[in-house]
Amino acid sequence: MSERIIKIEPYKTYDDIIKLSGKVSISDINLEIGIPENRTLNLYKYEISDSVQFIPREHESLEIKINLNWRKDFQISTFNSILLDSENPAEVLALRVQIQCEKTRWCSEQKKIDLSTITNRTLLNFQIPLNEVKNFIRVVAFITREIEGPNTVLNIPTSSLSIVSTCKDLSIQIDEIKEIGGEYLPISPGNIGDLAFDMQGLENPFELPRILYSEELKEFLTRDDLSSVNASILTALFYFLDQYLKWTIFICRLDLNDKHHKSIIDLFSGYCNISKEELIAVIEKDKFCPEQTLSYLDVSNKLFKGLQLQNKYKRELKNLFKQDAK
């Protein structure tokens, strides 16, 4: 008996029509920090000036001010194509904005905005209690259908609260994130002979490869107070992450319901400063086709630079050199 796959297309959506921007305000020290164009702000040890760093955990709360703007060439009538003919987007749709923390599962109140009121002067304020959040917070926004419609057209969403458009998130890092050996990459000691490090499982398309380090090095590599350990990890990180990138693009059978696969997409999307959708599109190309290989080279180069910039690699390296020179 043959097997037939009947593909059911999801309903039409129209993403990234409204652009979020904003700033973080800390009233007790009268400080405002803008969220950069790449939508990612690292507040952890944010340098206010040469010698002054902002430490979020020294404060009880943050205020986040969000601006909303229609992207160039888009307007409210853009949504006509994903509504029924007789429907008016201003009456049927609304924008919902909230701030959330995946780590602690905290979520702010949700603000519902009438689409017809969105102008570049629209400003939303959120108070973030720092005792409720950890690592990252994300500003997320969706345009939802607010009114149930007749279920007549297959590719038009008619259930109330269907998400017809997702805005690109803003991400704000609050705490230091220890990624290697932490929540993303599996790293553990192992018996690997004369090798100091090894990667195993690179041929398995389903499970993340594992980084192994020699058992003999365990007593040192589990300490975070040794500059030689930090230097080794910093250096090896480029290779490890590039191997993971190759695995993700060329070997992995991506399953976005798998939390490990999802984490690695998040990781590379962050470091390479490309959207998850773009990265997934690269992964889903025919394996090893010339376009995929070219895309890999491009993403790999972005990873090399992003890794240095986001981890403040130059500064870390300089500190290590200074310690060694003393």
Binding site: R96, E102, C107, P157, L161, S162
Partner: protein, 263 residues
């Protein structure tokens, strides 16, 4: 508060119960808190950081006292039917320390708290039944899971604190939890176990925990209670609805589309 700076792998290496030696391995079956602490404190490389304050000690002792009272009040009720009461006890007391969700991820602290204070309670809730049936390995494994927490969110005090965080309401206080506790104690059925598992381990992000509260209310406070399977499928359905934002969906939408059971 004190905490272990060793990760879970450290504890796994030394303490995972072995099926082939359930009787020789009895660290978690001794009911002897002091022996347990001294066993763990003498593990080579174990490291404890921080200090515990007098207020923290008083709160912990208060929790223990309230659990004793709960046990003596409901002697006829099986311990697993008292989970919601435990969530109220842990949450109400630990909130006095102004703990919030930031503390939830500090597993080293919860592990220390669990091991150093709650052996008796863990054994009563998770190990005693199996021990009486001479299933020594299962009993040890259950206690180990709750004291050491191979799945971190299952650490004994943490599991209850998280559930409290999910269902406590700044406006209505503990009323939903109290209603659930009453149902759980009175009925012999109902998927309270799966409700706990899903509240502690699934993402469910919504303002003021609207989703957790609505689903708990619909599934387990009505005249007929959802079974463990009903609860499980309701959360599966919720997770499958990724293209809808149900954060403020009305109860009728949850009843019609998510929490489907024969109520």
């Amino acid at each position: 508060m004190k905490k272990y700076s060793n990760g879970i792998d450290f504890f796994k290496n030394y303490l995972t119960p072995k099926r082939d030696e359930p009787l020789t391995w009895n660290t978690f079956n001794t009911k002897n808190q002091i022996k347990l602490i001294s066993t763990i404190d003498s593990l080579p490389g174990v490291n404890v950081e921080g200090e515990i304050s007098q207020t923290e000690i008083e709160i912990i002792l208060q929790i223990k006292q309230e659990i004793e009272l709960l046990k003596s009040t409901y002697t006829e009720v099986s311990p697993d039917r008292l989970d919601i009461d435990l969530a109220i006890i842990f949450h109400r007391n630990l909130k006095k320390l102004r703990w919030g969700r930031f503390q939830i991820e500090d597993y080293g602290m919860w592990r220390w708290l669990s091991i150093n204070f709650f052996l008796t309670e863990v054994f009563w809730r998770w190990g005693e039944d199996e021990f009486q049936k001479r299933k020594y390995y299962e009993s040890s494994k259950s206690c180990y899971d709750r004291l050491i927490g191979e799945r971190s969110r299952r650490l004994f005090p943490l599991r209850y604190f998280i559930t409290g965080e999910r269902l406590y309401d700044t406006h209505f206080g503990y009323s939903l939890l109290e209603k659930l506790a009453e149902k759980s104690r009175e009925e012999r059925s109902g998927g309270f176990g799966n409700l706990f598992n899903n509240l502690t381990e699934t993402k469910l992000i919504s303002p003021n925990e609207y989703t957790s509260k609505t689903m708990s209310k619909i599934l387990l406070t009505g005249n007929k209670l959802a079974s463990n399977n009903d609860v499980q499928y309701a959360f599966v359905r919720y997770n499958a609805y990724r293209r809808r934002l149900l954060n403020y969906a009305s109860e009728s939408i949850f009843e019609r589309e998510i929490c489907l059971f024969n109520s």
